[in-house]
């Protein structure tokens, strides 16, 4: 698991970074006409260099991106970029409130946790909200997706506090008009004390009032906003009970068709087309990692769902290598989770090898693990 800028491990921050990174990789690949692996390297370098996703996506890192592309054949990719930052980044720092820095820090010292690095990049902007008429339906989708984002991000913290049982019980079931609102009607400046009252206003914009409609609601969002299918699918996965798995079949079927027909969405299609089962998709997405002990909980949940998937689709024979140890566990034999992980890892590696063998000419051997060695030059 990667570390954030402060060196702490935060799974939900990782998920947020994952979403941001995918968008940036796609942007760089499309706008600069480079391959995905190079776009991915550049994205990592920029994010590690302290640029945020919005800055990159707004084209404010054009100079840096072009520089990195020009030097992409170098092994010391990050070192080069750090040297580059040393020369030019200071010019980009914007301090619109520089003169007031000293007095401000006195007032805020007791209430802020700031780092020297962040302070040097701080940007202050007058907070002067204005009223704007917006399309209700569009706003509803924006709000829904933002809460879905937070639900995925917040899940990790939520899970740690209340346990796995809570996760199983979470569903998109309650009507949004009871919970979803926005700060829209407060007269004049903000009144934070009345936040909750304001939030209750301007609702009934997006109706998801029955559990049975959950998947179709998500499908509609994905249909309207296919670029967010990762987010929606991940949310559906985390929030649906296993008996809704049949809906996932519908979503996958739809996605494969939709994405396959839209060349502009090739990156998303690449991620979903090789996933024959949902667990594979989750691993592809990085939400389940058999090599990461911290993600075993997610794997266990996924296995529970996968079991239903197998049974409902008569797939036990197709995936016997993986299914057998699970069934032994299920009967109370309590096989160690490591054995289950090992079985699935083998199953997954076999799938991976089969997939790699079909696209061997497009795969960069430098990105492969030792497990892939037999496929490339008999290493």
């Amino acid at each position: 698991m990667s570390k954030d800028i402060n060196g702490s491990n935060d799974p939900y921050y990782d998920i947020q970074k994952l979403f941001d990174s995918k968008t940036i990789i796609e942007y760089i690949a499309n706008d600069y006409g480079v391959k995905q692996d190079l776009a991915s390297s550049i994205t990592s370098t920029l994010l590690e260099g302290g640029y945020n996703s919005q800055t990159i996506l707004n084209g404010k890192c054009d100079k840096e991106i072009r520089y990195l592309i020009s030097r992409h054949d170098s092994i010391e990719f990050n070192n080069i970029f750090n040297d580059f930052l040393g020369e030019d980044k200071e010019e980009e720092k914007e301090e619109t409130f520089e003169n007031n820095e000293e007095s401000r820090s006195d007032n805020l010292e007791t209430t802020r946790r700031s780092s020297a690095k962040r302070r040097s990049n701080k940007h202050y902007q007058a907070f002067e909200p204005k009223k704007r008429p917006k399309n209700k339906a569009k706003v509803a989708v924006l709000l829904t997706l933002s809460v879905l984002s937070v639900s995925v991000i917040g899940l990790a913290a939520y899970k740690s506090e209340k346990g796995q049982e809570i996760i199983k019980n979470i569903q998109i079931e309650k009507s949004i008009d009871e919970n979803l609102g926005m700060l829209a009607s407060s007269p004049g400046s903000y009144d934070y004390e009345n936040r909750l009252n304001i939030v209750e206003q301007n609702t009934r914009m997006f109706n998801a009032n029955a559990a049975s409609d959950t998947a179709s609601d998500m499908l509609q969002i994905i249909s309207d906003n296919p670029e967010f299918f990762d987010l929606c699918l991940a949310n559906v996965y985390f929030n649906l009970n296993s008996d809704k798995l049949s809906d996932m079949d519908s979503i996958f079927s739809y996605l494969k068709t939709y994405l396959g027909e839209n060349p502009d969405l090739s990156m998303q299609y690449d991620r979903v087309k090789g996933c024959d089962v949902f667990l594979d998709y989750l691993m592809n997405l990085g939400l389940v990692d058999v090599n990461d002990e911290e993600k075993i909980v997610e794997l266990q949940t996924a296995i529970n769902i996968y079991k239903v998937y197998l049974e409902r689709n008569n797939m036990t024979e197709l995936n016997a290598d993986f299914d057998t140890p699970f069934r032994e566990l299920d009967r109370g034999n309590k096989k160690p989770i490591s054995e289950l992980l090992s079985a699935y890892k083998e199953y997954y590696n076999n799938l991976k090898k089969a997939y790699v063998s079909t696209v061997e000419q497009t795969v960069n051997p430098d990105n492969l693990t030792e497990d892939d060695a037999p496929n490339f030059g008999g290493r």
Binding site: I5, N6, S8, D20, S53, Q54, F97, R104, N107, R113, S114, R118, N121, H123, Y124, A126, F127, P129, K130, K131, R132, P133, K134, N135, K136, K138, L142, L143, L145, S146, S149, V150, S151, I153, G154, A157, Y158, I166, N169, I170, Q171, I172, E173, K174, I176, E178, N179, L180, M182, L183, A184, S185, Y192, R195, N202, M205, N225, E227, F228, N239
Partner: protein, 83 residues
């Protein structure tokens, strides 16, 4: 149509303010942009010379803390525990 509160950030793009949160003696706003569906921003409000300013958060820990509160505030829409 519906009237919403918006703010234009340093990237010259307009963001809809979907929530305001108080945490650890600080005030925050949660922002979404029409062109970046599914992505939200959190900015801290600081009062300087009796005027409010938006600024970025200091750390991912601060982001996580506020995001968690936002999630808690709205988790009812995805949580059927109370049903």
């Amino acid at each position: 149509m519906i009237d919403v509160n918006v703010i234009t950030l340093e990237d010259n793009r307009e963001y809809i303010i979907v929530d305001a949160i108080e945490h650890d003696n600080n005030k925050y706003v949660v922002l979404v942009n029409e062109d970046d569906k599914g992505i939200f921003l959190i900015r801290r409000i600081e009062v300087i010379d009796n005027k409010e300013y938006l600024t970025r958060l200091d750390s991912t820990l601060e982001f996580d803390s506020v995001a968690k509160i936002y999630f808690e505030n709205h988790k009812g829409m995805i949580d059927n525990e109370e049903k």
